[in-house]
Symmetry: C2
Subunit: 224 residues, 2 copies
């Protein structure tokens, strides 16, 4: 029986040193849309699960490996691909951009980080998929501690606050934010301070995922 | 290129007259799992979007048409279907069970409502998909006014409260619940009272979707 073809595509978010929210794009080598920018992705192989396909395509086309990858939504309008009927399972991933060197390969001529606020026109319906990913990220960082995936393992409370401000697109009251975050008891203060600042170096913290899982089991809800 | 086949499956929830939460299942006519109970669903045609395929399969196999249908998750482990590689896009739907007569047809030998708490063993990974749907419903009725889809157009506050209690599996304080619900100003009190009760007939209400959309635009968040 004739069946739609199946691809996976990844909306990968990163935060750069200037606290700008970025999305990883590849420049397509092949038709359709050769030369256009697109989300990393490709066809699902028969012998791999969807998650595995998403990680494989991301790694092949950009060199990026991610710890946090979640399914976003499956896009399947009839005319979304000029090659014929192609349904795509979209994923979103969060990476600490400072840890990743991007390296284009296979079907990607180039791979680069673009500011979310200045994305180029994208191939297929990838522009809509990227916006959907951004919406999900905005909703989800408020009730799940996923924002830490975008930060270095050791961070200051100011870095964490800026992350929320950048993603939510709104200023946050510093005092309330700190109180709320520290009250949840998910951050471990480290015996270290920020380096590279002349004076008033800030306290560094570490997110404790095992502590979060423990609290979750007793009915705790994360909320920022 | 060899590509996985693509199906859609629907977790359809309804609330019966005894306020029991139910799921609509079909009994499979064909192999694999002939005679077993399963979620209504089937293969996606080349010329239909995923949503259209889900509504078509549901209507064909059970006679049920639904207003509320949302994508749930796409299930694609390698070995989930003995026929070979089949990926399924799962949907969940909410219906006012009192309005629907179920009528099995096409690939379904029978179609029936089962209590969520007493589902039979299901074909494929449909048991896991149904549980996933239930989790989503539990999370979502708290922050989106979707529960009304399960009620008749005119309902009492007690009916609404029982709906929440049944889905969340927990008792709710009557006074707080009423206060919270009425404060959101989403319900229109009708010039009608409950019929069929001997005395103390309760006030009937109607949910106002247009009012909700209006409030949403001004930043309102639904929360129960």
């Amino acid at each position: 029986m004739a069946t739609p073809q199946l691809t996976v595509d990844c909306v990968v978010f990163g935060l750069d040193e200037a606290d700008q929210l970025k999305v990883l794009l590849i420049q397509r080598k092949l038709e359709p849309f050769a030369g256009a920018w697109a989300l990393p992705g490709g066809f699902v192989h028969l012998d791999e699960s969807l998650d595995v396909a998403a990680r494989r395509e991301l790694q092949e086309e950009t060199g990026v490996e991610t710890h946090f990858l979640e399914q976003l939504y499956t896009f399947g309008t009839v005319d979304r691909d000029p090659r014929g009927r192609v349904v795509t399972v979209a994923y979103y991933a969060l990476v600490n951009l400072r840890d990743h060197t991007v390296q284009a390969a296979t079907d990607a001529r180039d791979a680069r980080w673009f500011a979310v606020s200045h994305l180029p026109p994208l191939a297929f319906d990838h522009g809509a998929i990227a916006q959907y990913g951004l919406q999900r990220l905005r909703a989800k960082i408020r009730y799940e501690p996923i924002g830490f995936e975008l930060l270095p393992p050791k961070f200051t409370l100011s870095q964490l606050q800026r992350l929320y401000e950048v993603i939510l697109g709104a200023e946050i009251d510093k005092r309330n934010f700190r109180k709320r975050i520290l009250k949840m008891d998910l951050l471990q203060p480290l015996d270290e301070k920020q380096t590279g600042v002349a004076h008033r170096a800030a306290q560094l913290y570490r997110f404790q995922p095992e502590r979060y899982r423990q609290l979750q089991r007793s009915g705790f809800s994360f909320e920022v």
